[in-house]
């Protein structure tokens, strides 16, 4: 019947009190378990958020400096929605034409293509039933625009583009109020986009699609090679490595991409010189993409182009630029918020742990003081029958420590289960947008920062906290045990 045995019996003798103490201490311990776990999780969240935001900010900056420095230049579309009759074709329907820009076949050149002869003298056909391929520009003589690069400051690069679509004219009859009219439009099979595959443009500017699903992208200087969209691949029934004929010229398919915009679904990419050659348009282009040196230079460059070439329609991506700049500001703010929230987490955690540690010690202190007071006579008896002060003190220390150990185990059990809940209730949220605790994915607008798993408790953390529990029990029991040791044995003589 040793001191340990007595301590255990004393704890179990007052079951309800022991239970209350264990619950109170257990809750304190659970908080102590949760806070460091929460801090770790928050730290992880903040660092993940910071990393992701950092990447997004970098990407946004890159987008601002690349995509949005793009200035599109083209001649004004001729007629909105209506082109001209395929003059060379004998019939208005079923004729196979090839249009560059918004323009039907050239005059007299059956099946050919003659950009730049817009409005040429043979517009004798029925107006109104022309081929329609919407949104494309009129042909431009490439050499006329070389001054953009050479005379306008702030221009980093110029990308001349030739865009041409192949399809069939389809005529439909529209009836209205007793009148009827045939409308012919071009059903596009594919659109060629010829771009200069210089290493500067390929390496530094977003001139090619990026989402390659098979094969590889076009390389600088590629000739006789083509990058197909997924729709193109189906239309030509061709995959990577196959050779296809485009306007009777063989091309090797180097890769297939997944278009990022609806307007690109039928667009295939090739070298500008190839495109000009097969469409018989050497020296002609349909648009220019001018890249300004930076986002700030965009409007100045656009103005200069307009004054140099008033015939051009100059379009900047100001809306997207503004959007990206706004996003960048938002991300920067959120990054700062995440970082400050993270540092706030630490200070809050420290404050709360101090409070909990104090509370835990006080619980042990008061319970043990009460126990000592309640058992004054027993202590007096023990001392009268020959127990030393140190034995009595040890007895009460052991009781307090045992209680703390049990409470510590309970606390760790509760804490393991309830850590995310407790931590998110006790700690400031960390993350982007809204209140986000550990274990919750962070969603902000369209940006999703990776979610975190539930705060996990490492064995080291559990061991440390267990040590803290025992330490608190020891500290809390010290004074009551000392009080017990000081009780005079004469107390044993007192009649209740």
């Amino acid at each position: 019947m040793g001191i340990m045995n007595r301590a255990i019996r004393n704890i179990s003798r007052r079951k309800i009190r022991a239970l209350l103490v264990i619950i109170a201490l257990g809750f304190s311990m659970a908080i102590m378990v949760s806070i460091p776990a929460g801090v770790l999780a928050n730290q992880q969240t903040a660092s993940t958020a910071a990393t992701n935001l950092g990447n997004i900010i970098t990407q946004t900056s890159a987008s601002i400096n690349q995509t949005s420095t793009q200035i599109d230049c083209s001649l004004a579309p001729s007629f909105s929605g209506f082109g001209f009759q395929d003059f060379g074709g004998s019939t208005t329907s079923g004729g196979s034409g090839f249009t560059a820009g918004q323009f039907g076949g050239g005059s007299g050149n059956n099946g050919g293509f003659r950009p730049g002869q817009f409005g040429g003298g043979t517009i004798g056909g029925q107006f109104g039933g022309g081929a329609f391929s919407g949104g494309q520009s009129n042909p431009m003589n490439e050499s006329l625009y070389s001054d953009i690069n050479s005379t306008i400051s702030g221009v980093a690069a110029v990308e001349p583009i030739l865009q041409a679509s192949e399809g069939q004219n389809v005529t439909t009859t529209v009836s209205f109020n007793g009148y009827s009219r045939d409308i012919t439009r071009l059903a596009v099979n594919y659109t060629i986009e010829g771009i200069p595959l210089t290493s500067d443009l390929v390496d530094n500017y977003p001139i090619l699609p990026t989402n390659i699903t098979s094969g590889s992208n076009l390389q600088a200087g590629a000739i006789g090679e083509v990058l197909l969209s997924e729709n193109n691949s189906a239309y030509f029934n061709a995959g990577v490595g196959d050779t296809i004929n485009i306007l009777n010229q063989p091309f090797t398919v180097v890769g297939i991409y997944n278009p990022s915009a609806v307007s690109q679904t039928q667009t295939l990419f090739m070298n500008l010189s190839d495109a000009q050659a097969i469409t018989n348009n050497t020296g002609y282009i349909t648009s220019l993409a001018v890249f300004a040196e930076n986002a700030d230079a965009v409007s100045g460059v656009a103005t200069s182009i307009s004054s140099l070439h008033p015939e051009l329609t100059v379009t900047t991506d100001q809306a997207r630029l503004t959007q990206l700049q706004t996003l960048q500001t938002t991300y920067n703010t959120e990054l700062a918020t995440a970082q400050s929230a993270n540092s706030q987490t630490y200070s809050t955690a420290v404050e709360e742990i101090i409070v909990v540690v104090a509370a835990t010690s006080l619980i042990v202190l008061f319970v043990m003081l009460y126990t000592v007071k309640e058992r004054t006579k027993e202590i007096g008896t023990l001392k009268a029958i020959g127990f030393s002060n140190s034995t009595v003190m040890g007895q009460f220390m052991l009781e307090g420590i045992l209680l703390s150990i049990i409470a510590g185990l309970v606390g760790i059990a509760i804490g393991t289960v309830a850590a995310p809940t407790l931590a998110s209730a006790l700690l400031p949220s960390v993350g982007i947008g809204g209140r986000i605790g550990p274990g919750i994915a962070i969603v902000s607008g369209t940006t999703r920062v990776s979610g975190l798993s539930v705060a996990t408790l490492s064995p080291e953390l559990i061991l440390i906290l267990f040590g803290v529990a025992v330490l608190l029990g020891t500290v809390g029991s010290l004074y009551p045990a000392w009080r017990a040791a000081k009780i005079r044995p004469a107390e044993a003589m007192k009649y209740e």
Partner: protein, 267 residues
């Protein structure tokens, strides 16, 4: 048998109550020999509890000498005194003071913890002592399952655990009914006779006191009278007045018809 086990000389003990110095014991001299069965009697406030506390090394004298088994305990520090309490004496309390969460045997084993290392030895000795006080078979019972008299027997067994020089009993019959009172006094007297245990008993119960060998009457911190007792258990008891033969429980001598212990004689 005549070796002194307790010698008190010129013992003074006073308490300080506020600013007043309250004397509890004044110039008290007392010698108790080994094997004696002594009752200390006196009205409330006479100093009998103080005297018991000083003898039991749980209170220190203001001045004077207390020799316990030849050791001067009046000057010993607490870290020595607990050993004296453990090894030299056994306490028996009015309220028994058993630990409720320990069974009878474990209670008896308590004082042995500091001395007997072997668990089995402690267990054996405790069982023997419980048998001696008439509680064999009740070793595993906790105090709440024992009667008041049985609890006091356990307490006496506990007091004997370390073969003490003497037993200090503070009102051992104070909480007992008359039947149990008789039983406990008989037990103490038997221990004194058969084991030679020295017993110092504080009581205000004259019925219990007269069954000891010697009664000391305390008044205002001094021993004012010593009266020889009947010593229950000894054969051939005689009337202190006429010398005629009397029975243990007789209040009045059957021969001379005098009260054997008149109350005015005691106090």
């Amino acid at each position: 048998m005549s070796k002194p086990i307790l010698q008190i000389e010129k013992l003074n003990k006073s308490y300080i109550l506020g600013k007043r110095n309250v004397p509890a014991l004044t110039n008290l001299n007392l010698t108790i020999n080994s094997g004696e069965f002594v009752a200390i009697m006196g009205p409330s406030g006479s100093g009998k509890t103080t005297l018991l506390n000083v003898i039991g090394c749980i209170d220190k004298p203001t001045s004077g000498q207390v020799l316990l088994d030849g050791i001067d305990v009046s000057s010993l520090p607490e870290n020595q005194l607990y050993k004296i309490r453990r090894d030299k004496m056994g306490f028996v309390f009015q309220t028994f003071n058993l630990l409720p969460y320990l069974n009878a045997r474990e209670n008896v084993e308590l004082p042995m913890e500091g001395r007997l290392k072997s668990k089995s030895e402690r267990k054996k000795k405790a069982s023997e002592l419980l048998e001696m006080v008439g509680l064999s078979g009740r070793e595993e019972h906790r105090p709440q399952r024992l009667s008041a008299g049985e609890q006091q027997r356990v307490a006496i067994a506990r007091a004997l655990a370390n073969d003490p020089a003497f037993i200090l009993a503070d009102e051992p019959t104070g909480n007992l009914d008359s039947q149990n009172k008789q039983g406990i006094i008989k037990l103490l007297a038997n221990l004194n006779l058969t084991q030679g245990t020295t017993i110092i008993m504080v009581t205000h119960d004259s019925q219990a006191a007269r069954n000891t060998e010697r009664m000391l009457l305390l008044k205002d911190g001094k021993i004012v009278k010593e009266i020889p007792g009947l010593h229950l258990g000894k054969k051939n008891q005689t009337c202190p007045h006429c010398g005629g033969s009397i029975q243990t429980n007789d209040d009045i001598c059957p021969n001379c018809k005098k009260a054997i212990y008149a109350s005015d004689e005691l106090f």
